[in-house]
Symmetry: C3
Subunit: 329 residues, 3 copies
């Protein structure tokens, strides 16, 4: 397991009275691959505690005086808002940077220079970038912690972490559960990261996808090497009844050459109340959102529909990560 | 009078130690139609107190730990900045969302889904949207309070509330006053809402507009049914001397087919020092801004020019509304 | 020396318990020309103290309850982020206004009206505008302090102030130093302002530029009138060994009619480890950033490379200016 190096080790610019010996202090969050079982247990304990604090008093001043540079080279209202709220609920402040492309960068500034400028102002950098490897490049140059909020088709580790936290909070844990991933399993970084993460535990994974959008064999091999049972399906009906976690993703029209084929797949994979009759009473339906039809709105009032609660777990997960890398949890 | 339902009644997600029995706690602010005389009196008492606090100490921590999602599908620097400042002067934080169209929404996400995501992060949502009825739709789905900051040609209730608050603060009340509305009375949601709101009181209303931009008869009927005297004019000279509140709006070129007609109307309705010689010594000139020539800059130093103070009253009105719907006033 | 008038003298809207007799309270920051030696000494004493506070505890609540309107008619991530962080590290809040052109302004609102609206919400206005003189125009109409964050080819006083502060902090002072300005000295407002500012002290200035990008004679005359020694060069080699401060700027391709000439100039003026062998051991290399090749990345690890630290000094300089004009330092 490659663990990302502490980003600010021995850095004389960053004391601010932090607990420098706190676990995860100064960490970069770049990939789900950097997390061990112990890490996850620790992070989720913090996230759970933060959830309770938010429910009780809304927020508190743990990160007062700290500043997050929220650096988005691509727009993403959801992720950007989630990190903003996470920082603000902990009493910290945010520098919102959404229009990067119209600015310095369009004058030809490199990512390392932009990051080294922003860390002069901020204490932690959240980066969304269209290029695979951008977060690693930023972390290589930054003295302060970098959190990857999605780098192209690469990784989006905080999404995977919040997905798993959702399962923990909703079902009490992931051990022994059957996780069914549905939709475009070929192109979705979300499902790749989640599959990797749950395979640290004793789970069973089902993949339900049309032939052309199957889970890539190299990821299945990686997961199989950990002894996790994996089965592939083309129909959801076959597995809905045994599923504890149904993770739905969007199937994009652009992936299909034949529109008729797209329409057929799309129709097949809609999760609606009729389908849910075959599902367990205690299970959850998840989705990274936005959805555009693959889960019917009629399902929203079903207690098993966990996708909006999932957004809320994202808040607590990101609060935990910010607190940890800043040495405050 | 249809009063908007409490948005968060019995909602277990929202306690945070709020006074759940506080009046207006959890209310949506969607339309001026939802306010009774008693509501207005209460809101303006709070707004007046907040005005005094701001004058004395700038702000305080009434909404500390609370987060506002400022969701603007259309740009509006003025309204967006006003809500941001209102939240910040009360010690709260803001998630600014200005570029919605480039983001999730362009991926096809529905307004209800966007709103249900944002309320996972925030405590109250301010919504500006180009579509009539958008605020109501958002409120139907949201558990947390929604404040309408303008939905197309529909409503912009906080504008009307701040307009009336301006009259209260500047003239000591609206009872017995003569309110003259000037300009494009056909298309302006601002004057429609204000006319409705002042007609709750014993006032006299003058409408001054060119033939093609007259106040719509259905609104005049609605107001007439409350026993309010209304008179229509084409010339401002006829009524300036009896006017207590002159509310000026912009006449847009695009409304006219004949440019010569536009130029004539435009010239006729300019409020300048010459015209103001005929006005009372104690009266006010208001404008929702931005202006583009309908009030001459020479008038700015006239104490009766209340349009910039009007912006400031907007701050206190919005502070009051945020405090009220969050159960803190 | 023309000193900018106090912006809020006798203003009854602004008390908030401020120390109204504090030096610089209510000042506009419009031009480097408004600063005397005494002013600079005072400002840098405050900036230095703030630097130590940030190093020790990250920030504090000096400007709690105060609001900055960050009004950018042109995008500038660097400057905008720097002011945002400065305000937040002092416990204040920010109204970010980046998309002005798409908003009220595109409806034809004048700068004075926009500024008079924003000061209803905020306590201080930072303005970036493409038009020379825009900051002065804003200040003429505003009751609250205006800070010029760049008005076209006009001034960018806070950049010059932070540049000089960098020299003070890195070299212990500027008296007796040799300052070499390199690159496009004709069009760069940055080098014009810095040259003016250092000429208040006993310094020697070298200008290194290609023939067509030389320092304008009127600025050299202004500086010469203060008795400062100035020498012009076309080659950097001639002066690198005696230089205490090497201030590098970008040479833009667009300035040249002949591309071959551009390529030659560009190659000649690259600051790299080879060149730095001839430089003093104790000297600094500065750059306003962004750079695009005129300083090689290999130099970044050289302790004399001060350009990223320069960004950090910008934070402290802007914190000091905000605190001063708000009467809190």
């Amino acid at each position: 397991m490659e663990r990302t190096k502490p980003a600010v080790q021995g850095n004389s610019h960053l004391p601010f009275g932090d607990q420098q010996d706190a676990p995860y202090y100064g960490w970069d969050i770049l990939s789900v691959k950097q997390f061990s079982l112990e890490d996850l247990t620790y992070i989720y304990a913090v996230a759970h505690e933060l959830r309770e604090i938010v429910a009780r008093i809304g927020g508190f001043d743990l990160l007062k005086g700290k500043i997050l540079a929220n650096l988005f080279y691509e727009p993403s209202t959801r992720t950007s808002s989630s990190f903003t709220a996470a920082m603000e609920r902990l009493g910290g402040s945010v520098i919102p940077i959404n229009e990067v492309t119209y600015s310095s960068v369009s004058k030809g500034e490199s990512l390392p220079d932009t990051v080294r400028t922003l860390e002069c102002y901020a204490d932690v950098i959240v980066l969304r970038h269209p290029k695979v490897g951008a977060a690693q490049e930023a972390a290589d140059f930054a003295r302060k912690p970098v959190i990857n909020a999605g780098d192209g088709v690469g990784e989006h580790p905080t999404q995977a972490l919040l997905d798993l936290f959702t399962i923990f909070e909703e079902l009490g844990g992931v051990e022994g559960k059957t996780v069914t991933l549905l939709g475009d399993l070929k192109n979705g970084r979300t499902v790749h990261s989640l599959a990797r993460l749950v395979s640290l535990y004793d789970v069973k994974i089902n993949y339900v996808a049309p032939e052309i959008l199957k889970m890539p064999p190299e990821i299945m091999q990686e997961i199989g090497a950990r002894g996790v049972a994996q089965t592939e399906f083309e129909e959801l009906d076959a597995v809905i009844s045994e599923t504890d976690v149904l993770y739905v993703t969007r199937v994009q029209k652009e992936r299909f050459e034949d529109e008729a084929e797209y329409e057929q797949v799309r129709g097949q994979y809609v999760v609606d109340p009729a389908l849910m009759k075959a599902a367990k009473e205690k299970m959850i339906v998840m989705h990274p959102l936005p959805r555009v039809g693959e889960i019917s709105m009629e399902l929203d009032s079903d207690p098993r529909a966990a996708y909006f609660r999932q957004m809320e777990y994202g808040l607590y997960t990101r609060m935990a990560l910010l607190a940890l890398v800043l040495g405050k949890a």
